[in-house]
Symmetry: C2
Subunit: 340 residues, 2 copies
Amino acid sequence: MKATITDVAKKAGVSMKTVSRVLNNEPNVAEKTRAHVKAIAAELRYTPNLAARGLATSKSYLIALIYDNPSINYISHIQRGAIDACREAGYHLVVEPLYLEKVKSRAEKADAMRMVLEKLPVDGVILTPPLCDSQGVLQTLSELRIKCVRVAPRNRGQQPFVGMDDDTAAYQMTQYLLEQGHKRIGFIKGHVGHAATDMRYDGYCRAIESGGLSVSEQLVFQGDFSFESGVVQAKKLLELPVSERPTAIFASNDDMAAAVISVASQMGLDVPADLSVCGFDDTPLARNLSPALTTVRQPIYKMGFKAAQQLIDPDGDQQKIGQILDFEIMLRDTVSNLKN
Amino acid sequence: MKATITDVAKKAGVSMKTVSRVLNNEPNVAEKTRAHVKAIAAELRYTPNLAARGLATSKSYLIALIYDNPSINYISHIQRGAIDACREAGYHLVVEPLYLEKVKSRAEKADAMRMVLEKLPVDGVILTPPLCDSQGVLQTLSELRIKCVRVAPRNRGQQPFVGMDDDTAAYQMTQYLLEQGHKRIGFIKGHVGHAATDMRYDGYCRAIESGGLSVSEQLVFQGDFSFESGVVQAKKLLELPVSERPTAIFASNDDMAAAVISVASQMGLDVPADLSVCGFDDTPLARNLSPALTTVRQPIYKMGFKAAQQLIDPDGDQQKIGQILDFEIMLRDTVSNLKN
């Protein structure tokens, strides 16, 4: 028979609330009482459940991850980071995808989220892009008085967020291609309206121009982060006459970069001898492609971890509004040096 | 101001417990009262939160997904299915990975799970392989009086499970290769000790033998479901003298099949002209490989959905102990017909 909080309170001769305060490290308990209660709890092998802990703190010890991003890889890593931060602090992560069509209005998104949260007592919410940029969603959370931390939002504003510098990452990757002697560098953009899409494109443009070249409209196409869109846009780029065809293509994510490699191989072009390719994200796919993909490693796991940590301990060492985390350029086998 | 359960009870002239019973579709409430309470709740736009619902039912409306399987793809689809079943029934999914080293004993696994569950009130647990085959874990859940449904367990036994027929799937895939004229069919096994590893290998052996051939030890190698292990074993198979080399390789999952394609391409072998390849799982990787991979589609999403549904409504139309779900053979571009 498992010991309950009542057993501990009775044996220690204190109230249930005092037991709960001690075991949640809350203030207002004398040190001697604290030690006594802890000893009794240990003796009875008592560990408080969520309800008992909630008695003293009005906390639920639940954090919700709410998202409408369809990328399994992205969400899995955010989730894993958030779960690790929760585990450390005795919290649990509830995962709540919203199935939203692209055409959904601000109000419809907010309503879908409200439906989920109204029945679920959470201490905070993690929002991923593009949901984290919906004013309706943020407004609703504020009405429900639920704290939130946004992951990689477009508009950083005055609410807590974690993010990375997509612009600088794309700048550095493009600069690397330039250093390898590439002058015609194609670019496939991500989904219209996503913050990352614009920031990555801006970084690409900055690098091209700082290299003394100019951005050619002929070499920039609009994808939507899907493999399928990568296939369509890669064909357009690779069907250009050889003298105009890019020697390198920078795709705004790994799925589209995989599509470029696939189209190139179907056209009999060798990567990287005939065409250099790079991506963005460093999904597991990147390592498993053949050849392995040169790409930008986003701190996705770490963004999830830091977001949960900030919700759990808003007064910890992350009391700043925003945290910008580091990225890495992963040099693998899909870029050739034209200078050799 | 949001209406509370007290508001509804007061206005309807009944107890809070009655309101809770009505809104949770519990028995022991007169039909007239039921209709009246529902009307008042609708008028006040009341939706019960978890705590209020728990008052009458002692349910937490939380289901935990507990796993130690490292495959992001597998877990994501189980999770998505489980969340969809939860959402339909007003439940929420808490995701709890256990980070277990392979050497962990039965008792250590059970303790890791106990640590998570002792503080978390859940109405049921979904266990994935290989955790679902740990007697220590099942014993602990029984001690904690927590219901569980196992996904694809090795030992089906007398506790609830959902699964698929891996053996028949591998049999059919191997038979398909035989029908295409392949006689030297290599096989790369999965992780030692996983149920799926043995069932898939058994299906392969049955098909080879029913085709009047015999299983050659030279063509069967032990992988561990990782891309890296696929690379090592594919090299062994493809470095055989041409007359002994397999014309087709059946890898026990898609990651290892991707490795076979990668090794073949590095050795200058064309897939499928020089080598046919097939996998198992139908991860997103399978469609995005070039050429697209012929593989077995597991009902992973559906297993998650059915597992959660069975926990939520154990007396529903799934009252049987076990449910075996259908698979599909996905014919794509990595198998050639030697008879043409």
